[in-house]
Amino acid sequence: MRPVFQYLNGELPQAVEAGGPASAASAAAAAASIAAGDAGGLGRRVFLKMSLASGFALYATGAGAQEAAGSAASAASAAGAAAVPEGLKPFQQPSAFVAIGADGVVTVTIGKIDFGQGVQTALPMLVAEEMDADWSKVRCELAPAGEAYKDPFFHIQMVGGSTSMKASWQQYREIGARLRAMLVAAAAKQLNTPAAQLRTESGSVVAPDGRRLGYGVLAQAAFAEPVPATVQLKEPSQFKLIGKPMNRLDARAKSTGRQDFGIDVKLPDLRTVVMVHPPVFGGKVAKFDPAAALAVPGVEEVIQVPLSGGASGLAIVANGFWPARKARELVKVDWDLDGLERVDSAAQLAQFRALAKQPGVSVQKADLSALGGAKPAPGRITAEYTFPYLAHTPMEPLNCTIDFRGDRCTVWVGSQFQTVDQAQVAGVLGLKPEQVVLNTMTAGGGFGRRATPSSDYLVEAAQVAKARHAAGKRGPVKMIWTREDDVRGGYYRPTHLHSVEIAHDGKGGVLAWKHVIVGQSITMGTPFEGFLVKNGADGTMTEGVAESAYPFPIALEVHHPKVNVPVLWWRSVGHTHTAFVMETLVDELARAGKIDPVAYRRQLLAKHARHIAALDLAVEKSGYGKTVLPKGRAWGVAVHESFNTVVAYVVEVSVKDGRPVLHKVTAGVHCNLAVNPRTIEAQVQGALVMGVGMTLPGAEITLKDGVVEQGNWNDYRLPIHVDAPKVDLHIVPSAEPPTGMGECGVPPIAPAMANAMAALTGKRVRSLPFPV
């Protein structure tokens, strides 16, 4: 059944895709837990269904999980034969993913949101390849929340963990292959020729005598054919599209102002809502005076609504954004902030330091005797690293449009978490998930912020819709968070402290390594806890240290303080800080042992072929060790695996007025098979700019007396055009099933820069942003 994801004339579609746990019991449970303020409104049972049997963990890093993931995929796609599923699941049905018009236009509907990563080109490439579509006639649309669009590994519709291509590689190719078989079967009848004699080519089925039937002509008959269970996928040597650099399907629309985002939704009778949030997380409205706000022409009402976590705020409803925004400056609110923890960044650092000195939760044990008193080791490194809260601030402000009709509702939102969001909105409105049509809008950036286990801003919008409906008001509401709401709204990459003590032999040999990490847990208290927290340690904090490819004897302990600041995954999550610590320490150990930092890494990573391949490629193409750099410029190197992909950077840096100038980055990437090199290039260029951003002054969220000190991009600084270096990207050729590119370009850039600065100045950088 073709999903309908827009409606006109004010009519809601009648048929709704089943989504989420399709039972009244679980919907009731979801509603109950929302009412209790529990972010896990989706219900634990759905998340327990997430199977680890495939070895495909959300944040799998390191050899074990990568091999398991690789073998699961390759078992299914071993040359020539596909795995035979017992009865096709919804996510395997071509009709849910592909529509072919009479004009031959092939519209691929993908279950993944595109917020810039390029899946709206790369996933259709998979389908188009296997069905031999005419690429010039391929279009892409984003699927609404729906059963067929749930990720086959995670059993919810989501984008995160750099898993879209990994999870879709098999799935979408099979869809294409099944559809090809159906097109051929239909053509066989019409051409009166056995199917085995027919071939497909660029949107047509071709008979041996040259007769051709276009897919547009065959479409109706093809979709009436039985869907084959088994399919034969192409060999990489047969690929015509996959592996080629293909421009984005939405490039022209986005360059001419014709691409609609969630914030651009236009509906009859629409109201715009601007929120008033408490200044301290968890605050509640004690009393408010809307008189001055209501006097602004265009403002309709100011209502109090509950927010997540027991907080409350106000919603200003108007006939457009500007009146509501002006009115916000005029509303008078008294806040009840009693009993709330009021976080102060300076005090917090002292607390973290104190915690680090106490025994924590043990993640890895190792022999620390070389750090003991008896015989001091030849070399010792004692280092404390600090990292601030980081806000995502995607370019498109967070927004959500809801049309609630009492017994059903439609949502338009750029969601990375459709199943979760649909269920939580349903819970607020007293609906079953299948009574909520959730349309996935193209979003202006995500970086993890649009995948919030608590569905925070959607729940706010739903509360507004619910309150208005209860008061007899009708019509859709579009809630837009201002940039200030976003910068101050929490869900940050947590602040961390690393305390490291290393004993080494002065020749590059590590004798003992004591490592303590302090930081809030992202997943405790969410449905992801069972999946990612083991024995009290959150894997999203330790990734990059705990499963490091380096054979260091690391004894790792963690502390997860509870802090009144909501936190969330931020592009590359734990690797945002662990890679900085590891790659700068590795550099320091190399220099202490008077070993070249590249040679040192090659020794240590000898068993990791993908690391060596990525590193060697970057080194070779950069001229490292061969080219003589201009005076005042130094090389910096870092290599790090995250989300199953290895990225190596060799950078050229100089220092001017105490600040690094990043001239050039040569990148070596091992992501297994490169589906679309253009996507990969964009992701690497963009991710490394984001990583450079982490080093710049102003790239931090700080709190004073519970209030976030920053408010907009004037004081929370992003990297700008002049901060971007020249980038020379090289991809290691591979035919193995692809691994992810969403996040892996972020972690290695800051340590590579810090290593170059250390070479120039002799000073080690121990914090992000770089100290001024």
């Binding site: 925004r325 002006k326 400056e329 408010g711 907009n712 004037n714 004081d715 600084r717 700008i720 002049v722």
Partner: protein, 268 residues
């Protein structure tokens, strides 16, 4: 060229010999054009926005008191050194905010003080302040966005200066935009870009004196001979106002055009 057209009393002393020169007639057109150009180039930037030509400058007192003058300057310099003024009286790029940080996004002064195309001041600074905190301030000049800095050839920079050094930059025509004391007073008291400092929009600190008090300190300083230090001679004249200076130019041009041998209006 600046010294030749400076609107102070020394012009008159050179006038007669100039007009008696043989090339007076032949030079008329060139001089007329040059004078017109000079008026445009060397007029204070906010010429159009100041009060019309009926400003009555405070004259120097017959009994000026140096200490009173110095005390007045010590007060008015607190305003000059406040971010609302200082942020644009800088050597290079403008500063921003109550902590006088480097302006963000990065911008340049440009030749005319209005930015380097295509990123001009008017790109972001519109015709009025916004009600939103941290939005760029704005003001209107003749219906158009009027925000700007001093031009590159007259930066009026006083970063890091105080006391006598600041006072001299502020007072001397070659660093203050070719202003006589009368013109300087008119600028301080009536210019709308100066006045903006007291209506800067939400979230910006006000200068340490209110506008009326500031105006009074300016007058007191001028009245007492506009002293900058303990020893230099007190000023004896406030010079011409802009309106007077403009009338002087017009008179000269008329005299040249009619090949009239009349002497200029102000004579020794």
């Amino acid at each position: 060229m600046g010294a030749r057209f400076a609107w102070d009393a020394s012009w008159a002393s050179s006038g007669s010999s100039f007009l008696a020169s043989p090339c007076a007639t032949a030079c008329t057109a060139v001089l007329g054009l040059a004078a017109a150009v000079a008026l445009v180039l060397f007029a204070p930037p906010a010429l159009a926005a100041e009060a019309p030509g009926n400003f009555h400058p405070t004259p120097i007192s017959a009994t000026p008191n140096r200490q009173d003058g110095l005390a007045a300057f010590a007060q008015l310099e607190r305003v000059l050194r406040h971010p609302r003024c200082l942020n644009c009286h800088v050597p290079d790029s403008p500063l921003q905010g109550d902590f006088s940080r480097l302006h963000y996004p990065p911008v340049q002064r440009g030749v005319d003080g209005k930015g380097v195309a295509p990123l001009q001041c008017a790109t972001c600074h519109s015709t009025k302040n916004s009600p939103l905190p941290h939005a760029p301030p704005g003001l209107e000049t003749d219906g158009k966005p009027g925000w700007h800095m001093p031009p590159a050839n007259m930066k009026m920079n006083w970063v890091g200066l105080r006391g006598a050094a600041l006072c001299k930059v502020f007072r001397e025509p070659k660093t203050n935009g070719n202003r006589s004391l009368a013109m300087l007073e008119q600028h301080m008291l009536t210019d709308h870009l100066v006045a903006w400092g007291w209506s800067p929009g939400p979230g910006r600190a006000l200068p340490p004196l209110d506008k009326a008090a500031f105006d009074e300190q300016v007058r007191t300083w001028i009245r007492n001979g506009a002293p900058c230090d303990a020893t230099e001679p007190l000023r004896k004249s406030v010079g011409t106002t802009k309106a007077e200076a403009a009338r002087d130019v017009a008179d000269h041009l008329r005299a040249l055009a009619s090949n009239d041998q009349h002497l200029p209006r102000s004579q020794p």
